[in-house]
Amino acid sequence: MAHDNSYTGQKFQVIGNRFARPDGVDKVTGRARYGADANAPGQLVARVLRSPHAHARIKKIDTSKAEKLSGVKAVITSDDLPDLTGGNRGMTDILENCMARGRALYDGHAVAAVAAIDEQTARKALKLIKVTYQMLPHVTDVDEAMQPEAPVIHDWVFTGGMEPKPTKPSNVANRTEMGHGDVDAGFAAADVIVERSYKTEQTHQGYIEPHACLASVNPDGSAELWVTTQGPFSYRNVCAGLLGLDIAKLKVTASEIGGGFGGKTHVWAEPLALALSRKANRPVKLVMTREEVFRATGPTASTSIDVKIGAKKNGEITAATLDMRYQGGAFPGIWGMLGCMTGFACYDIKNQRSVGWDVIVNRPKVAAYRAPSAPMAAFAVESTMDIVAGEVGMDAVDFRLKNVAREGSQAPYGPIFGPIGIESALQEVKKHPQMKARLKKNQGRGVACGFWFNIGGQTCVDLNIGEDGTVNLAVGTVDVGGARSSLGMIAAEELGISYDDVKVHVADTASLGHNDTTEGSRGTFSSGMAAIFAARDAIEVLKDRAAQMLDVPRDAIVWEKGEARAKGTQYSNLPKLSLREIAAKAARTGGPIAGHNEVTADGAGVAFAAHICDVEVDPETGLTRVLRYTVIQDAGKAIHPDYVEGQFQGAAAQGIGWGLNEEYVYGEDGRLQNPGFLDYRIPVCSDLPFIDTKILEVPNPNHPYGIRGVGEASIVPPLGAIGNAIANATGVRMHHVPMSPVRVLDALDQAEASESQVSAG
């Protein structure tokens, strides 16, 4: 895509400063409205009945008593959600995940729902619904599900990507293979080969705001949905499709979002709220409880991974392979494939092969979680990189630098990289003061790298200039982390006006054309690109008007620093016209002044990160404390440094939680044991130190300002960085994430036992 790259490297007036965000006051005063903060007159409260079984046939659902309860206005089962998907497997899976169709596929799977005049009545009604289940054998572990004797969950799943195609159904939805070169020759040339196996447990995005929506369907087929979501347009399209509504007639308004991280890119109970509203002919408010969020939304995959890396004595990696098994919950997913695309991306490995398996188990349907699939693959690769470095006698950072990916290296998924920042990041690591800080007893330091591709996508924005010269920018990408300020800055920069004169808001689906979901670190990248083009569009109009007002030919006008000027000595006596002056006369010169842009923002720049982690491990309890943490990541161009740092720190914190504490615990009965924040332990304030950040700027040549997406890459290194730090602190290598106190203690005990065996023997 031939962008005007002249902006890259140019001196910016507004970009790069740290302005206050436009939604800040609302959020610190409690005025901001999130998913559960909307109400409608006459609204009903919805509650969902969920399967307590991991796998069961639903023989009968008797809703008669519930329907008769005073105050209950609608009860639905899958009978109220006819299959309108026309054979589109992806949509059928969503439909079935929203509500079970004859079979409960996981503990928490919705089987029925009610709408009643208040919460108490709704809960009473749930108790009156009688479901007759016939238990079926279940499987929740990814490796167990691949065994021939495992219960096969779907009889229509035949492993894709296998030649010849299997004739028997299994729980393996897909096999993906990627790579290049000749790994056998590569391993044959290696002096040192390290093979290890790792496991990572399932985690949840853990957003503090549960899913919530207010749905209102009218008898004429029009409907409104107020919902907390990362993608109002996607939700609109999916809900309209599932309910048989016209897309244009379903208006979805995104509330402020209380965290998403990928978990709010898919619908969960929203179609149920719409179906209840349609049946009851009244607005329906549906707010999930925290327990429902854990049991019945979209956590990330749990995995089982084998790595093999071979290297010469001089540290050059000659071959590497990954075999990665990801469970996608009760429906086929693409997680194994994503793992293949990212596993070796930080390194230039001429002979590599990654195989990814997508496995089905009786767990909730996995959704994306910030750089989906990459953290697990990176844990395996980064842990093994340290082991290989040790075997060839090289420093861990130098070993990575020796094999680092650069412009011209081939990515695991095929294309050749353009300019990228991982080498700079590692060099920054080497220079960083944390690397020289003294470590005490039981303390250790670990380094790890991470990669995420980032995406662009369909985007449109509207830029409207008011009579007083202040500007409204309407965007279609939900603001998950402060992007409204960055987008305002971009518009101000292009127009040459003050940041304070621009007000950004997120529009509803009736007001703008389709915008893809805020995911894949695309919010600022895509909407920023569209904002630039919309501003330039508006500038053309401003120049037209200025030419009129100054009575000069159109091509004599230039736009500089927020003003129109007639260039040429013959016009030197004419005044410059500010945006404000032109806007004031807009009614007389042609009407409202606006700029508009629809763009499919492609060319998203990949992002690399390198982290440094210092830990202290208590040998008596196995508790690991993070003492010091540094994130170094390439942002291309940091529009608002505070919010770029915020993304780095937040992603790192999630990775630390994932690495040390967070996991879904399933019982023998296939039920989730810890669906709450007490036992699903995310990091709290006292767990973490200040998280240092260093923003690198290797411009993305495919964006007018060089922007790269920043939100995801820094969740990728922490698991490996912590594993390496623990290994350096204790001499013991962890293979199972989270590296909780119990697991660390076990590993320490085992190491001690085998040591004493050795010395005794």
Binding site: R18, A20, R21, D23, G24, V25, K27, V28, T29, G30, R31, A32, R33, Y34, A36, D37, Q120, Q205, G206, Y207, I208, E209, P210, E256, I257, G258, G259, G260, F261, V287, T289, R290, V480, G481, G482, D642, Y643, E645, G646, Q649, G650, A652, A653, Q654, G676, F677, L678, I682, P683, V684, C685, S686, L688, F690, I691
Partner: protein, 162 residues
């Protein structure tokens, strides 16, 4: 006869009356009866702190207090932080230090931070971190939140001196 209990309470200094079932939690009373939606339900079990309020000056999770327990007592919510239309230094510093991203946890943090600074105007970093350990944030990693609280402690001590 109604099952609801009449509650007479003071919220942010104002007298407020509402009726609620005896088993309703204060969180729901504040949001649904009084219309103060600054408190948020993140978990309903006292683990996340998004529903933090002060009850007679003590920091509590409003999801663990019954609405009827507010009778005759004083509640403090995030809505009560502004004074005469001016943002409290904590609120201003949270904005200035980018201590919020999605903002859902922010009301709870502001109430908890104010409760801390009211009793300890010069807390160490460790004291701040432990005082705020009952408030979960998933977006920020807490770094900028702690810095905002440190800056606010400084601002408040300075203001007191004048």
């Amino acid at each position: 006869m109604s099952n609801a209990v009449l509650v007479s309470t003071t919220i942010n200094g104002d007298t407020v009356e509402f009726a609620c079932p005896a088993d309703e939690v204060l969180l729901d009373s504040l949001r649904d009866r009084v219309g103060l939606t600054g408190v948020k339900e993140g978990c309903g079990t006292g683990d996340c702190g998004a529903c933090s309020v002060t009850l007679d000056g003590e920091l509590v999770c409003s999801c663990l207090v019954l609405g009827v327990e507010a009778d005759g007592r004083a509640i403090g919510t995030v809505e009560g932080l502004t004074e005469n239309g001016d943002l409290h230094p904590l609120q201003q510093n949270f904005i200035d230090h980018a201590a919020l991203q999605c903002g859902i946890c922010t009301p709870g943090f502001l109430v908890a931070a104010k409760a801390l600074l009211d009793r300890n105007p010069n807390p160490t970093e460790t004291e701040i971190r432990y005082a705020l350990a009952g408030n979960l944030c998933r977006c920020t990693g807490y770094d900028k939140i702690v810095r905002a609280v440190q800056a606010s402690a400084k601002d408040l001590r300075k203001a007191k001196k004048r």
